[in-house]
Amino acid sequence: MSATAAITGLLDFRRLDLLATGNSALHRLDPRAHVTVTLVFVVCAMSFGRYTVAPLLPFFVFPIAVVAMAGLPVAFLARKVAIVLPIALLIGLPNPLFDRESLLSLGGIEITGGWISLLSIALRALLAAAAAIVLVAVTGFPAICGALERMGMPRPLAVQLLFLYRYLAVLGEEAVRMTAAREQRGGDRPLSIRLYGTLVGRLLLRTWDRAERIYLAMCARGFTGDFRSGRAARFGVPEVGYVAGWCLFFLLLRTSDVTHWLGAAVLGAVQ
Protein backbone atom coordinates (compact mmCIF):
# COMPACT_ATOMS: atom_id res chain seq x y z
CA MET A 1 0.00 0.00 0.00
CA SER A 2 1.40 3.38 -0.91
CA ALA A 3 1.34 6.24 1.56
CA THR A 4 -1.64 7.84 -0.15
CA ALA A 5 -3.71 4.66 -0.07
CA ALA A 6 -2.85 4.21 3.59
CA ILE A 7 -3.93 7.78 4.37
CA THR A 8 -7.26 7.20 2.59
CA GLY A 9 -7.79 4.09 4.71
CA LEU A 10 -7.11 6.00 7.92
CA LEU A 11 -9.41 8.86 6.92
CA ASP A 12 -12.20 6.41 6.12
CA PHE A 13 -11.69 4.76 9.49
CA ARG A 14 -12.01 8.10 11.25
CA ARG A 15 -15.05 9.19 9.27
CA LEU A 16 -16.85 5.93 10.01
CA ASP A 17 -15.91 6.28 13.65
CA LEU A 18 -17.31 9.83 13.89
CA LEU A 19 -20.70 8.81 12.48
CA ALA A 20 -21.58 7.20 15.81
CA THR A 21 -21.54 10.61 17.48
CA GLY A 22 -24.91 11.37 15.82
CA ASN A 23 -27.94 11.91 18.01
CA SER A 24 -30.89 10.21 16.33
CA ALA A 25 -33.38 8.02 18.20
CA LEU A 26 -31.42 5.01 16.93
CA HIS A 27 -28.12 6.42 18.19
CA ARG A 28 -29.65 6.79 21.63
CA LEU A 29 -30.70 3.13 21.92
CA ASP A 30 -28.69 0.86 24.21
CA PRO A 31 -25.81 -0.60 22.14
CA ARG A 32 -26.85 -4.11 23.14
CA ALA A 33 -30.02 -3.67 21.08
CA HIS A 34 -28.02 -2.91 17.94
CA VAL A 35 -25.57 -5.75 18.53
CA THR A 36 -28.38 -8.28 19.11
CA VAL A 37 -30.38 -7.21 16.06
CA THR A 38 -27.27 -7.30 13.86
CA LEU A 39 -26.34 -10.81 14.99
CA VAL A 40 -29.86 -12.13 14.40
CA PHE A 41 -29.86 -10.42 11.01
CA VAL A 42 -26.59 -12.03 9.95
CA VAL A 43 -27.61 -15.51 11.10
CA CYS A 44 -31.02 -15.31 9.37
CA ALA A 45 -29.64 -13.92 6.11
CA MET A 46 -26.73 -16.37 5.92
CA SER A 47 -28.83 -19.44 6.73
CA PHE A 48 -30.40 -19.72 3.27
CA GLY A 49 -29.33 -22.48 0.89
CA ARG A 50 -26.83 -22.22 -1.90
CA TYR A 51 -29.29 -21.31 -4.65
CA THR A 52 -31.27 -18.64 -2.79
CA VAL A 53 -31.42 -15.28 -4.52
CA ALA A 54 -34.82 -13.59 -4.35
CA PRO A 55 -35.57 -14.21 -0.64
CA LEU A 56 -32.28 -12.43 0.24
CA LEU A 57 -33.39 -9.17 -1.34
CA PRO A 58 -35.93 -8.10 1.32
CA PHE A 59 -33.15 -8.28 3.92
CA PHE A 60 -31.72 -5.09 2.42
CA VAL A 61 -34.65 -3.34 4.11
CA PHE A 62 -32.76 -3.50 7.42
CA PRO A 63 -29.52 -1.66 6.56
CA ILE A 64 -31.39 0.80 4.35
CA ALA A 65 -33.96 1.59 7.05
CA VAL A 66 -31.30 2.02 9.75
CA VAL A 67 -29.17 4.29 7.54
CA ALA A 68 -32.24 6.38 6.70
CA MET A 69 -33.62 6.61 10.24
CA ALA A 70 -30.24 7.44 11.74
CA GLY A 71 -29.50 10.04 9.08
CA LEU A 72 -26.20 8.44 8.03
CA PRO A 73 -24.43 9.43 4.78
CA VAL A 74 -25.68 6.98 2.16
CA ALA A 75 -23.00 7.39 -0.50
CA PHE A 76 -20.08 6.96 1.90
CA LEU A 77 -21.52 3.83 3.50
CA ALA A 78 -22.55 2.35 0.13
CA ARG A 79 -18.97 2.80 -1.07
CA LYS A 80 -17.61 1.10 2.05
CA VAL A 81 -19.99 -1.82 1.52
CA ALA A 82 -19.34 -2.09 -2.22
CA ILE A 83 -15.62 -2.66 -1.57
CA VAL A 84 -16.43 -6.28 -0.69
CA LEU A 85 -18.04 -7.00 -4.06
CA PRO A 86 -14.88 -7.78 -6.08
CA ILE A 87 -13.66 -10.18 -3.37
CA ALA A 88 -17.07 -11.86 -3.19
CA LEU A 89 -17.12 -12.34 -6.97
CA LEU A 90 -13.61 -13.77 -6.80
CA ILE A 91 -14.43 -16.35 -4.14
CA GLY A 92 -17.72 -17.17 -5.88
CA LEU A 93 -16.17 -17.57 -9.32
CA PRO A 94 -15.43 -21.30 -8.95
CA ASN A 95 -19.18 -21.94 -8.64
CA PRO A 96 -20.07 -21.37 -12.34
CA LEU A 97 -17.04 -23.48 -13.29
CA PHE A 98 -17.90 -26.47 -11.13
CA ASP A 99 -21.67 -26.33 -10.95
CA ARG A 100 -22.81 -26.50 -14.59
CA GLU A 101 -26.16 -28.10 -14.08
CA SER A 102 -28.95 -26.07 -15.63
CA LEU A 103 -31.49 -24.92 -13.05
CA LEU A 104 -33.50 -22.19 -14.68
CA SER A 105 -34.58 -21.15 -18.11
CA LEU A 106 -35.25 -17.48 -18.69
CA GLY A 107 -36.40 -16.60 -22.22
CA GLY A 108 -34.73 -19.65 -23.70
CA ILE A 109 -31.36 -19.01 -22.04
CA GLU A 110 -30.32 -21.81 -19.72
CA ILE A 111 -28.90 -20.57 -16.43
CA THR A 112 -26.72 -23.00 -14.49
CA GLY A 113 -26.74 -23.47 -10.74
CA GLY A 114 -23.26 -22.01 -10.52
CA TRP A 115 -24.31 -18.59 -11.82
CA ILE A 116 -27.28 -18.53 -9.46
CA SER A 117 -25.13 -19.41 -6.47
CA LEU A 118 -22.56 -16.80 -7.56
CA LEU A 119 -25.30 -14.18 -7.48
CA SER A 120 -26.37 -15.50 -4.08
CA ILE A 121 -22.82 -15.20 -2.74
CA ALA A 122 -22.54 -11.62 -3.99
CA LEU A 123 -25.81 -10.68 -2.25
CA ARG A 124 -24.74 -12.40 0.97
CA ALA A 125 -21.43 -10.54 0.93
CA LEU A 126 -23.20 -7.20 0.50
CA LEU A 127 -25.65 -8.00 3.31
CA ALA A 128 -22.89 -9.12 5.69
CA ALA A 129 -20.75 -6.06 4.97
CA ALA A 130 -23.73 -3.72 5.30
CA ALA A 131 -24.60 -5.26 8.67
CA ALA A 132 -21.11 -4.71 10.07
CA ILE A 133 -20.59 -1.19 8.69
CA VAL A 134 -24.05 0.01 9.73
CA LEU A 135 -23.54 -1.41 13.23
CA VAL A 136 -20.33 0.59 13.70
CA ALA A 137 -21.85 3.72 12.14
CA VAL A 138 -24.89 3.77 14.42
CA THR A 139 -23.31 2.41 17.62
CA GLY A 140 -19.63 3.32 17.69
CA PHE A 141 -16.78 0.99 18.52
CA PRO A 142 -16.34 1.69 22.27
CA ALA A 143 -20.09 1.21 22.78
CA ILE A 144 -19.99 -2.10 20.88
CA CYS A 145 -17.16 -3.26 23.15
CA GLY A 146 -19.16 -2.24 26.21
CA ALA A 147 -22.22 -4.06 24.93
CA LEU A 148 -20.25 -7.23 24.17
CA GLU A 149 -18.71 -7.13 27.62
CA ARG A 150 -22.10 -6.83 29.29
CA MET A 151 -23.21 -9.74 27.11
CA GLY A 152 -20.41 -11.94 28.43
CA MET A 153 -17.18 -11.11 26.61
CA PRO A 154 -14.20 -11.54 29.00
CA ARG A 155 -12.83 -8.31 30.43
CA PRO A 156 -9.25 -8.69 29.10
CA LEU A 157 -10.51 -8.86 25.51
CA ALA A 158 -12.75 -5.83 26.06
CA VAL A 159 -9.83 -3.83 27.47
CA GLN A 160 -7.63 -5.04 24.62
CA LEU A 161 -10.17 -3.91 22.01
CA LEU A 162 -10.44 -0.45 23.56
CA PHE A 163 -6.68 -0.04 23.69
CA LEU A 164 -6.25 -1.23 20.12
CA TYR A 165 -8.94 1.16 18.96
CA ARG A 166 -7.34 4.13 20.74
CA TYR A 167 -3.89 3.59 19.24
CA LEU A 168 -4.89 2.41 15.76
CA ALA A 169 -4.77 5.84 14.18
CA VAL A 170 -1.66 6.87 16.15
CA LEU A 171 0.44 3.97 14.91
CA GLY A 172 -1.19 4.08 11.49
CA GLU A 173 0.08 7.64 11.13
CA GLU A 174 3.50 6.51 12.28
CA ALA A 175 3.54 3.89 9.50
CA VAL A 176 2.32 6.46 6.96
CA ARG A 177 5.13 8.83 7.93
CA MET A 178 7.72 6.07 7.56
CA THR A 179 6.32 4.99 4.18
CA ALA A 180 6.15 8.56 2.92
CA ALA A 181 9.72 9.28 4.03
CA ARG A 182 10.96 6.21 2.19
CA GLU A 183 8.94 6.94 -0.94
CA GLN A 184 10.41 10.44 -1.13
CA ARG A 185 13.93 9.07 -0.93
CA GLY A 186 13.85 5.78 -2.79
CA GLY A 187 10.81 5.47 -5.04
CA ASP A 188 7.73 3.48 -4.24
CA ARG A 189 8.85 -0.06 -5.05
CA PRO A 190 7.97 -2.61 -2.34
CA LEU A 191 10.72 -3.29 0.17
CA SER A 192 12.94 -6.33 0.23
CA ILE A 193 12.21 -8.63 3.14
CA ARG A 194 15.42 -7.66 4.94
CA LEU A 195 14.69 -3.93 4.67
CA TYR A 196 11.10 -4.56 5.69
CA GLY A 197 12.40 -6.32 8.80
CA THR A 198 14.48 -3.27 9.66
CA LEU A 199 11.68 -0.78 8.99
CA VAL A 200 8.98 -2.72 10.82
CA GLY A 201 11.42 -3.67 13.58
CA ARG A 202 12.09 0.04 14.09
CA LEU A 203 8.34 0.66 14.20
CA LEU A 204 8.05 -2.14 16.75
CA LEU A 205 10.70 -0.56 19.00
CA ARG A 206 8.90 2.79 18.85
CA THR A 207 5.66 0.98 19.67
CA TRP A 208 7.28 -0.68 22.63
CA ASP A 209 8.60 2.61 23.98
CA ARG A 210 5.20 4.17 23.51
CA ALA A 211 3.54 1.33 25.45
CA GLU A 212 5.99 1.93 28.28
CA ARG A 213 5.19 5.67 28.34
CA ILE A 214 1.46 4.97 28.21
CA TYR A 215 1.78 2.54 31.08
CA LEU A 216 3.65 5.00 33.27
CA ALA A 217 1.21 7.79 32.40
CA MET A 218 -1.74 5.57 33.25
CA CYS A 219 -0.16 4.43 36.50
CA ALA A 220 0.19 8.08 37.44
CA ARG A 221 -3.56 8.41 36.93
CA GLY A 222 -4.49 5.39 39.01
CA PHE A 223 -4.69 2.65 36.36
CA THR A 224 -5.33 -0.81 37.76
CA GLY A 225 -5.61 -2.88 34.59
CA ASP A 226 -9.19 -1.96 33.71
CA PHE A 227 -11.06 0.71 31.81
CA ARG A 228 -14.06 2.33 33.44
CA SER A 229 -16.84 3.87 31.44
CA GLY A 230 -19.06 6.38 33.17
CA ARG A 231 -22.12 5.73 31.06
CA ALA A 232 -25.07 3.93 32.59
CA ALA A 233 -26.73 1.51 30.18
CA ARG A 234 -30.42 0.85 30.26
CA PHE A 235 -32.19 -1.84 28.28
CA GLY A 236 -35.71 -0.40 28.47
CA VAL A 237 -38.96 -0.55 26.53
CA PRO A 238 -37.65 1.12 23.34
CA GLU A 239 -34.81 -1.40 23.18
CA VAL A 240 -37.10 -4.39 23.69
CA GLY A 241 -39.46 -3.06 21.04
CA TYR A 242 -36.64 -2.41 18.58
CA VAL A 243 -35.10 -5.86 19.02
CA ALA A 244 -38.44 -7.70 18.97
CA GLY A 245 -39.66 -5.83 15.90
CA TRP A 246 -36.62 -6.51 13.77
CA CYS A 247 -36.28 -10.13 14.94
CA LEU A 248 -39.92 -10.86 14.04
CA PHE A 249 -39.35 -9.24 10.67
CA PHE A 250 -36.23 -11.34 10.01
CA LEU A 251 -37.99 -14.53 11.10
CA LEU A 252 -40.90 -13.74 8.79
CA LEU A 253 -38.50 -13.24 5.87
CA ARG A 254 -36.65 -16.41 6.77
CA THR A 255 -39.62 -18.72 7.22
CA SER A 256 -41.99 -17.56 4.50
CA ASP A 257 -41.35 -16.72 0.89
CA VAL A 258 -42.47 -13.09 0.98
CA THR A 259 -40.95 -12.23 -2.37
CA HIS A 260 -42.77 -15.11 -4.04
CA TRP A 261 -46.17 -14.03 -2.68
CA LEU A 262 -45.61 -10.45 -3.63
CA GLY A 263 -44.46 -11.34 -7.13
CA ALA A 264 -47.34 -13.76 -7.68
CA ALA A 265 -49.85 -11.17 -6.46
CA VAL A 266 -48.48 -8.51 -8.79
CA LEU A 267 -48.32 -10.88 -11.77
CA GLY A 268 -51.89 -11.98 -11.04
CA ALA A 269 -53.09 -8.37 -10.92
CA VAL A 270 -51.33 -7.61 -14.22
CA GLN A 271 -53.00 -10.52 -15.96
Binding site: M46, F60, I64, A68, V136, P154, L171, Y215, G225
Partner: protein, 303 residues
Protein backbone atom coordinates in the same frame (compact mmCIF):
# COMPACT_ATOMS: atom_id res chain seq x y z
CA UNK B 1 -7.02 -16.29 4.18
CA UNK B 2 -10.05 -14.53 5.65
CA UNK B 3 -13.22 -16.63 5.55
CA UNK B 4 -16.21 -14.62 4.36
CA UNK B 5 -19.74 -14.68 5.75
CA UNK B 6 -20.98 -15.24 2.21
CA UNK B 7 -19.47 -18.73 2.06
CA UNK B 8 -20.41 -19.78 5.57
CA UNK B 9 -23.46 -21.55 6.97
CA UNK B 10 -24.64 -20.51 10.46
CA UNK B 11 -24.05 -24.06 11.74
CA UNK B 12 -20.35 -23.99 10.85
CA UNK B 13 -19.93 -20.31 11.74
CA UNK B 14 -21.68 -20.83 15.08
CA UNK B 15 -19.61 -23.87 15.95
CA UNK B 16 -16.39 -22.01 15.27
CA UNK B 17 -17.66 -19.01 17.26
CA UNK B 18 -18.18 -21.29 20.25
CA UNK B 19 -14.70 -22.80 19.86
CA UNK B 20 -13.18 -19.33 19.60
CA UNK B 21 -15.18 -17.97 22.54
CA UNK B 22 -13.97 -20.88 24.67
CA UNK B 23 -10.36 -20.19 23.68
CA UNK B 24 -10.81 -16.46 24.41
CA UNK B 25 -12.21 -17.27 27.85
CA UNK B 26 -9.36 -19.65 28.59
CA UNK B 27 -6.68 -17.16 27.44
CA UNK B 28 -8.33 -14.40 29.47
CA UNK B 29 -8.25 -16.55 32.57
CA UNK B 30 -4.57 -17.42 32.05
CA UNK B 31 -3.72 -13.72 31.63
CA UNK B 32 -5.71 -12.69 34.70
CA UNK B 33 -3.79 -15.23 36.75
CA UNK B 34 -0.47 -13.72 35.69
CA UNK B 35 -1.83 -10.24 36.50
CA UNK B 36 0.74 -8.08 34.78
CA UNK B 37 -0.60 -4.51 34.43
CA UNK B 38 2.33 -3.52 32.29
CA UNK B 39 1.24 -5.94 29.59
CA UNK B 40 -2.22 -4.40 29.17
CA UNK B 41 -1.13 -1.29 27.26
CA UNK B 42 1.60 -3.27 25.52
CA UNK B 43 -0.92 -5.73 24.06
CA UNK B 44 -3.18 -2.94 22.91
CA UNK B 45 -0.45 -0.97 21.24
CA UNK B 46 1.01 -4.10 19.62
CA UNK B 47 -2.41 -4.78 18.07
CA UNK B 48 -2.30 -1.29 16.60
CA UNK B 49 1.30 -1.97 15.53
CA UNK B 50 0.14 -5.01 13.57
CA UNK B 51 -2.33 -2.85 11.67
CA UNK B 52 0.40 -0.32 10.94
CA UNK B 53 2.85 -3.05 9.86
CA UNK B 54 0.23 -4.47 7.50
CA UNK B 55 -0.01 -1.08 5.80
CA UNK B 56 3.62 -1.45 4.67
CA UNK B 57 4.22 -3.88 1.82
CA UNK B 58 7.33 -5.86 0.97
CA UNK B 59 8.27 -7.51 -2.32
CA UNK B 60 8.10 -11.28 -2.54
CA UNK B 61 11.35 -12.52 -4.12
CA UNK B 62 11.07 -13.95 -7.62
CA UNK B 63 7.39 -13.14 -8.19
CA UNK B 64 7.20 -9.39 -8.74
CA UNK B 65 4.21 -9.24 -6.42
CA UNK B 66 4.08 -7.84 -2.92
CA UNK B 67 2.69 -9.07 0.37
CA UNK B 68 2.16 -8.02 3.95
CA UNK B 69 2.73 -9.51 7.37
CA UNK B 70 0.17 -11.86 8.90
CA UNK B 71 1.66 -11.40 12.32
CA UNK B 72 0.25 -14.21 14.47
CA UNK B 73 3.62 -15.88 15.00
CA UNK B 74 5.42 -12.57 15.58
CA UNK B 75 2.91 -11.62 18.28
CA UNK B 76 3.29 -15.01 19.98
CA UNK B 77 7.09 -14.63 19.99
CA UNK B 78 6.77 -11.15 21.52
CA UNK B 79 3.92 -11.72 23.97
CA UNK B 80 3.51 -15.44 24.53
CA UNK B 81 0.62 -17.48 23.14
CA UNK B 82 -2.31 -16.40 25.34
CA UNK B 83 -1.81 -12.67 24.94
CA UNK B 84 -1.04 -13.14 21.23
CA UNK B 85 -4.34 -14.96 20.69
CA UNK B 86 -6.30 -12.12 22.31
CA UNK B 87 -4.41 -9.49 20.31
CA UNK B 88 -5.09 -11.40 17.08
CA UNK B 89 -8.77 -11.67 18.05
CA UNK B 90 -9.00 -7.93 18.66
CA UNK B 91 -7.31 -7.13 15.33
CA UNK B 92 -9.71 -9.39 13.43
CA UNK B 93 -12.75 -7.95 15.24
CA UNK B 94 -11.73 -4.42 14.22
CA UNK B 95 -11.13 -5.58 10.64
CA UNK B 96 -14.55 -7.23 10.52
CA UNK B 97 -16.34 -4.17 11.89
CA UNK B 98 -14.56 -1.26 10.22
CA UNK B 99 -13.42 -2.81 6.96
CA UNK B 100 -16.08 -5.52 6.51
CA UNK B 101 -13.18 -7.94 6.17
CA UNK B 102 -14.61 -11.43 6.58
CA UNK B 103 -17.78 -10.60 8.45
CA UNK B 104 -19.37 -11.08 11.84
CA UNK B 105 -20.53 -14.67 11.44
CA UNK B 106 -17.09 -15.63 10.12
CA UNK B 107 -15.28 -14.04 13.07
CA UNK B 108 -15.13 -17.33 14.96
CA UNK B 109 -13.54 -19.06 11.97
CA UNK B 110 -11.10 -16.25 11.26
CA UNK B 111 -9.91 -15.84 14.83
CA UNK B 112 -9.43 -19.58 15.13
CA UNK B 113 -7.70 -20.04 11.75
CA UNK B 114 -5.41 -17.01 12.04
CA UNK B 115 -4.97 -16.86 15.81
CA UNK B 116 -5.14 -20.33 17.31
CA UNK B 117 -2.76 -22.13 14.96
CA UNK B 118 0.14 -19.66 15.13
CA UNK B 119 -0.22 -19.10 18.89
CA UNK B 120 -0.77 -22.65 20.10
CA UNK B 121 0.88 -24.81 17.44
CA UNK B 122 3.30 -22.62 15.50
CA UNK B 123 4.76 -20.87 18.55
CA UNK B 124 5.49 -24.00 20.64
CA UNK B 125 7.09 -25.47 17.54
CA UNK B 126 9.19 -22.31 17.14
CA UNK B 127 10.30 -22.40 20.78
CA UNK B 128 11.16 -26.05 20.48
CA UNK B 129 13.19 -25.62 17.30
CA UNK B 130 14.83 -22.30 18.11
CA UNK B 131 15.79 -23.04 21.71
CA UNK B 132 16.46 -20.30 24.23
CA UNK B 133 19.28 -18.38 22.55
CA UNK B 134 19.11 -19.17 18.85
CA UNK B 135 21.61 -18.03 16.25
CA UNK B 136 20.13 -16.11 13.37
CA UNK B 137 20.09 -19.02 10.89
CA UNK B 138 18.49 -21.38 13.37
CA UNK B 139 15.86 -18.80 14.36
CA UNK B 140 15.02 -18.17 10.71
CA UNK B 141 14.53 -21.85 9.95
CA UNK B 142 12.46 -22.28 13.12
CA UNK B 143 10.26 -19.29 12.26
CA UNK B 144 9.78 -20.56 8.71
CA UNK B 145 8.76 -24.03 9.80
CA UNK B 146 6.46 -22.67 12.49
CA UNK B 147 4.83 -20.26 10.04
CA UNK B 148 4.43 -22.98 7.41
CA UNK B 149 2.78 -25.37 9.87
CA UNK B 150 0.45 -22.64 11.18
CA UNK B 151 -0.59 -21.51 7.71
CA UNK B 152 -1.04 -25.04 6.38
CA UNK B 153 -3.33 -25.87 9.29
CA UNK B 154 -5.15 -22.55 8.86
CA UNK B 155 -5.64 -23.15 5.14
CA UNK B 156 -6.83 -26.68 5.81
CA UNK B 157 -9.34 -25.34 8.33
CA UNK B 158 -10.59 -22.81 5.76
CA UNK B 159 -11.17 -25.62 3.28
CA UNK B 160 -12.99 -27.75 5.86
CA UNK B 161 -15.19 -24.85 6.98
CA UNK B 162 -16.02 -23.84 3.41
CA UNK B 163 -16.87 -27.33 2.22
CA UNK B 164 -18.89 -28.12 5.35
CA UNK B 165 -20.94 -24.95 4.79
CA UNK B 166 -21.90 -26.05 1.30
CA UNK B 167 -22.28 -22.57 -0.26
CA UNK B 168 -19.24 -22.79 -2.50
CA UNK B 169 -19.35 -25.43 -5.25
CA UNK B 170 -15.62 -26.11 -5.04
CA UNK B 171 -14.98 -29.83 -4.48
CA UNK B 172 -12.97 -30.62 -1.35
CA UNK B 173 -9.96 -32.10 -3.16
CA UNK B 174 -9.67 -29.32 -5.74
CA UNK B 175 -9.93 -26.62 -3.11
CA UNK B 176 -7.34 -28.33 -0.93
CA UNK B 177 -4.92 -28.76 -3.82
CA UNK B 178 -5.34 -25.06 -4.54
CA UNK B 179 -5.03 -23.75 -0.98
CA UNK B 180 -2.19 -25.82 0.46
CA UNK B 181 0.55 -25.02 -2.11
CA UNK B 182 -0.33 -21.30 -2.05
CA UNK B 183 -0.13 -21.24 1.72
CA UNK B 184 3.13 -23.15 1.64
CA UNK B 185 4.58 -20.21 -0.29
CA UNK B 186 2.87 -17.68 1.98
CA UNK B 187 4.17 -19.56 5.02
CA UNK B 188 7.77 -19.42 3.78
CA UNK B 189 7.47 -15.67 3.22
CA UNK B 190 5.70 -15.10 6.55
CA UNK B 191 8.41 -17.06 8.34
CA UNK B 192 11.19 -15.10 6.61
CA UNK B 193 9.56 -11.76 7.44
CA UNK B 194 8.93 -12.78 11.06
CA UNK B 195 12.55 -13.85 11.39
CA UNK B 196 13.75 -10.58 9.82
CA UNK B 197 11.78 -8.49 12.32
CA UNK B 198 12.77 -10.67 15.28
CA UNK B 199 16.45 -10.64 14.35
CA UNK B 200 16.40 -6.84 14.00
CA UNK B 201 14.76 -6.50 17.40
CA UNK B 202 17.20 -8.96 18.93
CA UNK B 203 20.13 -6.96 17.63
CA UNK B 204 18.72 -3.53 18.49
CA UNK B 205 17.00 -4.20 21.79
CA UNK B 206 17.53 -7.72 23.12
CA UNK B 207 15.69 -6.95 26.37
CA UNK B 208 12.31 -7.06 24.64
CA UNK B 209 12.61 -10.69 23.64
CA UNK B 210 13.98 -11.87 26.96
CA UNK B 211 10.93 -10.55 28.83
CA UNK B 212 8.68 -13.03 27.05
CA UNK B 213 10.68 -16.17 27.75
CA UNK B 214 8.48 -18.33 29.93
CA UNK B 215 9.26 -21.40 31.98
CA UNK B 216 8.87 -24.62 30.07
CA UNK B 217 5.83 -26.52 31.25
CA UNK B 218 4.91 -29.81 29.62
CA UNK B 219 6.01 -28.18 26.40
CA UNK B 220 7.15 -31.39 24.80
CA UNK B 221 3.93 -33.12 25.78
CA UNK B 222 1.72 -30.38 24.34
CA UNK B 223 3.82 -30.31 21.22
CA UNK B 224 3.45 -34.04 20.80
CA UNK B 225 -0.33 -33.87 21.11
CA UNK B 226 -0.56 -31.03 18.60
CA UNK B 227 1.71 -32.76 16.11
CA UNK B 228 -0.32 -35.94 16.41
CA UNK B 229 -3.54 -34.01 15.81
CA UNK B 230 -1.98 -32.19 12.88
CA UNK B 231 -0.73 -35.41 11.31
CA UNK B 232 -4.08 -37.12 11.85
CA UNK B 233 -5.93 -34.20 10.27
CA UNK B 234 -3.48 -34.10 7.39
CA UNK B 235 -3.71 -37.84 6.89
CA UNK B 236 -7.50 -37.88 6.90
CA UNK B 237 -7.53 -34.90 4.55
CA UNK B 238 -5.13 -36.51 2.14
CA UNK B 239 -7.15 -39.69 2.19
CA UNK B 240 -10.33 -37.83 1.39
CA UNK B 241 -8.61 -35.81 -1.26
CA UNK B 242 -7.08 -38.77 -3.05
CA UNK B 243 -9.66 -41.52 -2.83
CA UNK B 244 -13.00 -39.80 -2.78
CA UNK B 245 -13.23 -36.11 -3.58
CA UNK B 246 -16.85 -35.92 -2.52
CA UNK B 247 -16.51 -38.10 0.53
CA UNK B 248 -16.69 -35.23 2.96
CA UNK B 249 -19.76 -33.65 1.40
CA UNK B 250 -21.39 -37.01 1.40
CA UNK B 251 -20.54 -37.76 5.01
CA UNK B 252 -21.61 -34.31 6.16
CA UNK B 253 -24.92 -34.74 4.37
CA UNK B 254 -25.33 -38.06 6.13
CA UNK B 255 -24.37 -36.67 9.51
CA UNK B 256 -26.56 -33.60 9.38
CA UNK B 257 -29.44 -35.30 7.63
CA UNK B 258 -29.40 -32.53 5.07
CA UNK B 259 -30.51 -33.36 1.55
CA UNK B 260 -27.61 -34.14 -0.74
CA UNK B 261 -26.55 -31.13 -2.73
CA UNK B 262 -26.70 -32.95 -6.07
CA UNK B 263 -30.11 -34.33 -6.97
CA UNK B 264 -31.04 -33.10 -10.41
CA UNK B 265 -34.75 -33.68 -10.87
CA UNK B 266 -36.61 -31.28 -13.07
CA UNK B 267 -39.71 -31.30 -10.89
CA UNK B 268 -38.10 -29.70 -7.87
CA UNK B 269 -36.20 -27.01 -9.71
CA UNK B 270 -38.53 -24.20 -8.71
CA UNK B 271 -38.39 -25.11 -5.03
CA UNK B 272 -34.65 -25.36 -4.99
CA UNK B 273 -33.96 -22.22 -6.92
CA UNK B 274 -36.55 -20.26 -5.02
CA UNK B 275 -36.43 -17.76 -7.84
CA UNK B 276 -39.09 -18.54 -10.32
CA UNK B 277 -40.39 -15.58 -12.27
CA UNK B 278 -42.65 -14.65 -9.36
CA UNK B 279 -39.67 -14.72 -7.02
CA UNK B 280 -37.61 -12.48 -9.29
CA UNK B 281 -40.48 -10.01 -9.69
CA UNK B 282 -41.27 -10.06 -5.96
CA UNK B 283 -37.63 -9.64 -5.03
CA UNK B 284 -37.23 -6.64 -7.29
CA UNK B 285 -40.38 -5.09 -5.86
CA UNK B 286 -39.20 -5.49 -2.27
CA UNK B 287 -35.89 -3.94 -3.18
CA UNK B 288 -37.65 -0.92 -4.71
CA UNK B 289 -39.95 -0.75 -1.68
CA UNK B 290 -36.93 -0.87 0.61
CA UNK B 291 -35.33 2.04 -1.21
CA UNK B 292 -38.59 4.02 -1.12
CA UNK B 293 -38.90 3.24 2.58
CA UNK B 294 -35.37 4.48 3.14
CA UNK B 295 -36.17 7.66 1.23
CA UNK B 296 -39.35 8.21 3.27
CA UNK B 297 -37.62 7.56 6.61
CA UNK B 298 -34.58 9.66 5.81
CA UNK B 299 -34.05 12.27 8.47
CA UNK B 300 -33.95 15.80 7.26
CA UNK B 301 -30.60 17.33 8.09
CA UNK B 302 -31.02 19.87 10.86
CA UNK B 303 -30.41 23.47 10.04
Amino acid sequence: MHMADALLSPAVGGTMCVATAATVAWCSRCLRKEADDRRVPLMGVLGAFLFAAQMINFSIPGTGSSGHLGGGLLLAILLGPHAAFLVMASVLIVQALFFADGGLLALGCNIFNLGFFPAFIGYPLYRHLAGDAPGSARATVAAMLAAIVSLQLGAFAVVLETVASGISALPFGTFLLFMLPIHLAIGIVEGAVTAAVVSFVRAASPGILSTTVQPRRHRAGILGVFLAVALALGGVGAWFASTNPDGLEWSIARVTGAPEPEAPQTGVIDDRVGSSLAGVVGGSITLVLALLLGYALKRKPRD
